[in-house]
């Protein structure tokens, strides 16, 4: 197994996630919390994020359907999702959450509906990309977790 090649691919993939704005510096903070005692901490936190965020998105979806024009309720649910996005550095998703909240503030139903679709799209895209990233890390084995220097987008 060519671990060095896999490491390069992982580094390149991570750089791409930062360059395309999917992730921000907070993701580096999460990865920095990994150590020998918790070598898979970042993946575990990301797994928790997607478990929670799926539920929160479902809450928003139900609220949009069951509570028409209840912008306060919609906003409250989206605030939780935005918070979670912030915590793991899910930058593009966080931006769409903020956009939704802005539309709530304006009382703009159509805007809310449109931005909610974007939130869901970004959620799906991020999930796919992070799954691929962690899959690659797993393929490269522990060598990647211990030796891979902070990638572009993460400060030393």
């Amino acid at each position: 197994m060519d671990y060095s090649n896999l490491r390069r691919q992982a580094a390149s993939m991570k750089k791409s996630l930062f360059d395309q704005g999917y992730l921000d510096e907070q993701f580096c903070q999460v990865e920095d919390l990994q150590d020998e005692a918790s070598p898979n901490f970042a993946e575990e936190v990301v797994t928790l994020f997607f478990k929670d965020s799926a539920k929160l998105i479902s809450n928003v979806e139900q609220a949009l359907e069951k509570y028409p024009k209840d912008f306060n309720r919609w906003d409250a649910y989206m605030q939780q999702l935005k918070g979670s996005c912030s915590s793991i550095g899910a930058s593009r998703m966080k931006s769409e959450c903020m956009s939704f909240r802005d539309y709530c503030g304006q009382g703009n139903v159509e805007g809310c509906m449109r931005s909610f679709q974007k939130v869901k799209r970004e959620h799906g895209a991020l999930r796919q990309k992070l799954e691929a990233y962690f899959q690659l890390l797993r393929q490269a084995g522990q060598l990647v977790l211990l030796e891979l220097p902070p990638g572009p987008g993460c400060k030393n």
């Binding site: 005692a37 901490f41 936190v45 928790l48 478990k51 912030s86 915590s87």
Partner: protein, 162 residues
Amino acid sequence: MEVTAAAGACCRGRGDHHAGEEERSSAKVVVPVGSDGAEVEPCVIAVDDSSVDRALVTALLRRSKYRVTAVDSGKRALEILGSEPNVSMIITDYWMPEMTGYDLLKKVKESSKLKQIPVVIMSSENVPTRITRCLEEGAEDFLLKPVRPSDISRITTRMLLH
């Protein structure tokens, strides 16, 4: 990954050394003893309904060598506080269902048994009136999420002087 604890049990931090051990050499700290006579290590209770944020704040605190119990509600935190003998700090999210971090802060400060425990509030929103309200109610500090290692350093340094 999920950190939960039965009442009276706190999870050990990483490493052999805890902040409590280091504190004893530089500040006089009275460490309670359990029923078996063994010293009870100080424990931080982390309260957040978000599993992501619980995991993050727990990891940050453990990196600072604290023993941490993470719970998902103020109600659960009060249960732990009723049985855990040596809580050195509570760090809680502000916005939680049923009991907010502010409600928890108030209950702690109204209790003769608990009021000496420092309480730190975390929030993802920078709302000045919220911050003021918490500080006036006796919160030790107010952290904006996502919480950073420097935030934990600041509050733990303050705890050493507490």
